[in-house]
């Protein structure tokens, strides 16, 4: 078996193990929450002991915890995430469209923030200590210091209310309409996420590029008389990218979890806002499903970063044998 494939298989195995642990933690955590789904569904009527017990029985909440967990896990493996306690219909159907919405949101944010930060990071490194560098540094540190909901609110104030009203303040994506017809609803949430992650990637790439530019092999490339374009594109930047990969992956994975607050702010129908609602409703199957999806994004992002790092570092690649 090729060593890289073996490594990938091992890592996928470890990823599945991680997800399993996550599901246990989440399951235990939901059990620890005060109140249960039956109470949440019945509201005031929960005072009626008989009805409460009946609903609990119907939801399977009376079974031993372990049995509930094993039953749920068996469903997950066969593609059945169970029924939503709050809405009564299958979880898969309820979250399908929302997963797509969130995915598009994160994808757009990543598509903008990654190239922008790579470019800004390398330019600031190349123009180190110029006004441009100082400006970007101050700007990115400021953005990094602001929580993403503050950034979101500022964007809403700027573009959706008083100052220039060009964007909708809320992003209630209509699941009945094609997404292409409501693209403007994605702009502000995606911009918020972009501004939240781009500073980190920019900073790390600036630092790693500076380190590489000071390296002896870049000095050697210049002393060989290579044009600056070749020095940067062939000798400097590829080596600067490796350390930035891990940070980029972590940030993109964070996007998947970070959408929670941003989606809520913009009333965006994605998995984030659904997660918040589901926690409030004690809708355990829903919470479990969404957490697993977010955890899976983390696992996949890190795995991808590790594989890419190996691919761009000959020392690691040849060391696999």
């Amino acid at each position: 078996m090729p060593p890289l494939l073996k490594l990938i298989l091992i890592r996928i195995g470890l990823g599945v193990l991680t997800l399993l642990l996550v599901s246990v933690v989440v399951f235990v955590a939901t059990q620890a929450l005060p109140g249960d789904a039956a109470k949440a569904i019945l509201g005031r009527e929960a005072a009626n002991k008989d009805r409460y017990e009946a609903v609990k029985e119907q939801l399977g909440l009376n079974k031993p915890v372990l049995q509930q967990y094993v039953g749920w896990l068996g469903g997950v493996v066969t593609g059945d995430l169970g029924d939503s306690l709050a809405q009564g219909s299958p979880v898969t159907g309820l979250i399908g469209r929302r997963v797509v919405n969130s995915f598009i949101l994160v994808f757009v944010a990543a598509l903008v923030s990654v190239p922008v930060s790579l470019i800004l990071g390398s330019i600031t490194a190349l123009r180190r200590d110029t006004k441009f560098d100082t400006g970007v540094t101050v700007g990115s540190l400021t953005l990094a210091a602001l929580p993403e909901f503050v950034i979101g609110i500022i964007l809403i104030l700027l573009f959706a209310t008083q100052v220039i009203k060009v964007m909708p303040a809320t992003s209630r994506v209509d699941s009945g309409l094609p997404i292409l017809q409501q693209l403007e609803l994605f702009v502000l949430p995606a911009l918020t996420l972009t501004l939240a992650v781009a500073p980190y990637i920019t900073r790390i790439l600036r630092a790693s590029t500076i380190e590489v530019l000071e390296s002896e092999y870049v000095m050697m490339a210049r002393l060989k008389g290579l044009p600056e374009r070749l020095v940067l594109n062939r000798h400097a930047l590829p080596n600067a990218l490796a350390p930035a990969l891990q940070v980029t992956a972590l940030n993109l994975a964070w996007l998947a979890g970070g959408v929670v607050v941003v989606e809520y702010l913009f009333a965006f129908p994605g998995i984030g806002s659904l997660l918040v609602d589901s926690v409030a409703n004690r809708d355990m199957p829903m919470v479990q499903a969404i957490t697993l999806i977010i955890a899976a994004v983390y696992v996949v992002a890190n795995l991808t970063a590790d594989i890419l790092t190996i691919l761009v570092s000959p020392r690691l690649r040849t060391g696999l044998r």
Partner: protein, 603 residues
């Protein structure tokens, strides 16, 4: 290894450096000042000086390149009459790697880790438009690889730098430098990181290529011995200025500058006829250089005038120039090696030869690989045993086994004063750990940068002795005195010390434990030759005065005579030759020892 062609001083001057001054930017403090050099066709000029003397800065400025924080303030660098420093970026790119090329000190860092060596070699031909087709360039590449004795098949060229040995990496860098048939080549200590055998091969290659291509070469080094058989002329630099320049023989036989003479006296003598003399102190960094002649504070000849003004250039004979107020008197002392160093005192042979450390049939593993194969040797009371070998010979592994620092499997007996030693230092009693002290190779990583020198020295005192504060203070001052360091350093941090001072401090730390056995692991390999000599003098004196037993690990056979009574030559995890130092060096039996001896540069 004598130069096989006569010096070519009469040839045409290819490289001319005039009045070069390089300063720190933006402070404007001089790194180098008033540097003027001439190199002729087919000639090798050695540029010699200690660390911080500004040699590398001169080297890269010949290609109009400076590291961040330095800039060329004035001067001219002419190649075939064209001023390099006046060129625009485009023209400069054209000559870098073309008419003038550079061989770095550490090619493991100077080769791009992410690019195949074939790519890195071909690109220098491509950007300079060598030949008319890719085929021409590939032919030239194959030819170059042949000249540096490397394979040129596709498979080899597809390797990455980390898949080559240190010597191979250096050869790749040399092939790269000669690829476009340059007129001038700058070699910046290209053999410092290499074993003597590899160094000898690399020096041979450089010599052959400069001769056959008629290149003017600048060879930068801190070790006069390295250039003694390579350079036609030598320029000696101190504190950013060239203090003496002349042919190899002029400098070696009648050096007129005290610094030149001191540098020569600090070269270890493998024939064992002269003593090893270090230069006290260290070369001052830019910004810390005294006025007048910067060497005055370390110079035995210094008079008041030396501290006031830097002497002008005086011509001893055509081509031999010196900058010293007292050059005539200094030069009158005649042959440098005899006058400065004097005869070597024989290393004392203590009568008491009870075994302190004995190693019997020791086999050691690294993970599952056997790296030492059945070693048997011993160190007698008051004696010093040198373990000599190249990297990978197992000399450090053996030293670590004795010190209890080898974390893998060991089979066999290791005894201290007749009693078996535990494998792991942590399992040894406190008195044994106190008795066996270890000094590490790099004084840059063996001293905790966050602790003051007092804290560093108090560590062994606290562990091994029960002392009051005053007693502790007295002991610290005493061990600092033993290694010739001032007690005012106690409140300082290691990074405020020079490399030589750091190694003295590391020695002082071991002495503080009042050991019976001192294990020195390549303790001078990170130091300048001049500082190395001073450290060896110190260790030899400590051994004499305190009756210490010592295990001295080194790759440099030439050092052995100045310090030890016995020597064990190691190769591939075995002792290939063992005996009294004089006997082994004068009449080596093993082929490996003979080879090491012939590869060791001498003056």
């Amino acid at each position: 290894m004598a130069p096989d062609a006569a010096p070519t001083r009469e040839g045409e001057a290819v490289l001319k450096v005039e009045g070069l001054r390089i300063v720190l930017d933006p402070s404007g403090i001089d790194i180098d000042d008033d540097v003027s050099l001439v190199i002729h066709r087919g000639e090798v000029l050695g540029l010699v000086g200690e660390s911080a003397s500004g040699k590398t800065t001169v080297g890269t400025s010949l290609l109009d390149y400076q590291r961040r924080g330095a800039k060329i303030a004035e001067g001219r660098v002419q190649i075939d009459g064209q001023d390099v420093l006046a060129m625009d970026q485009r023209a400069l790119r054209g000559i870098r790697g073309g008419r003038i090329s550079y061989v770095p000190q550490d090619s493991s860092a100077a080769l791009n880790p992410a690019l195949r060596i074939g790519t890195q070699l071909l690109e220098i031909l491509e950007v300079h438009g060598f030949g008319s087709s890719q085929q021409d360039r590939e032919e030239r590449l194959a030819q170059m690889m042949g000249e540096v004795l490397l394979p040129s098949d596709k498979q080899f060229l597809r390797r990455y730098p980390h898949q080559l040995s240190g010597g191979q990496q250096q050869r790749v860098a040399i092939a790269m430098a000669f690829a476009n048939r340059p007129k001038v080549i700058v070699l910046d200590e290209p053999t410092t990181a290499l074993d003597v055998t590899t160094q000898a091969h690399v020096l041979d290659t450089v010599r052959d290529l400069t001769r056959s291509y008629g290149v003017a070469a600048l060879y930068i080094t801190h070790d006069l011995a390295v250039v003694s058989n390579l350079a036609d002329r030598i320029a000696v630099m101190y504190a950013g200025k060239v203090v003496e320049v002349g042919t190899r023989d002029e400098l070696f036989d009648e050096g007129h500058h005290p610094y030149t003479r001191k540098l020569l006296a600090s070269i270890p003598d493998i024939t064992g006829q002269r003593a090893l003399r270090g230069i006290p102190g260290w070369a001052p960094r830019p910004g810390q250089r005294p006025p007048g002649c910067a060497f005055a504070p370390r110079c035995d000849w210094a008079v008041d005038k030396c501290g006031e003004a830097f002497p002008p250039v005086e011509t001893v004979s055509p081509g031999h120039e010196v900058r010293c107020w007292r050059q005539q008197e200094v030069g009158a002392r005649g042959s440098v090696l005899q006058a400065e160093a004097g005869e070597r005192e024989a290393v004392l042979m203590p009568e008491d030869d009870e075994q302190v450390i004995s190693v019997r049939n020791v086999t050691a593993f690294y993970q599952h690989k056997e790296t030492l194969h059945g070693i048997t040797t011993s160190v007698a009371q008051g004696h010093c045993l040198s373990l000599v070998g190249e990297s990978g010979s197992g000399k450090t592994t053996l030293a670590r086994c004795i010190a209890g620092l080898h974390p893998h499997k060991i089979v066999g007996d290791i005894e201290f004063e007749g009693k078996p030693l535990a494998r792991d230092a942590r399992d040894r009693s406190r008195s044994i750990r106190q008795a066996i002290q270890y000094i590490f190779q790099s004084p840059y990583s063996s001293l905790n940068p966050r602790k003051t020198i007092a804290q560093i020295l108090s560590q062994p005192l606290k562990v091994f002795f029960d002392l009051s504060r005053d007693e502790m203070e007295d002991r610290m001052v005493k061990v600092l005195e033993q290694v010739a360091l001032d007690s005012s350093l106690l409140s300082r941090y290691p990074d405020q010390l020079s490399g030589g001072e750091r190694q003295r401090l590391a020695i002082a730390r071991s002495l503080a434990a009042e050991p019976t056995v001192l294990i020195c692991d390549e303790v001078t390999s990170w130091l300048d030759v001049s500082v190395q000599a001073a450290i060896i003098e110190l260790l030899a004196q400590l051994q004499r005065d305190m009756g210490l037993s010592m295990l001295f690990v080194t790759h440099n056979l030439a050092l052995v005579r100045s310090i030890s009574q016995e020597v064990a030559v190691m190769n591939d995890g075995r002792i290939v030759e063992y005996g009294l130092v004089d006997a082994v060096l004068e009449d080596p039996q093993a082929d490996y020892t003979k080879k090491l001896l012939s590869d060791t540069p001498t003056v």
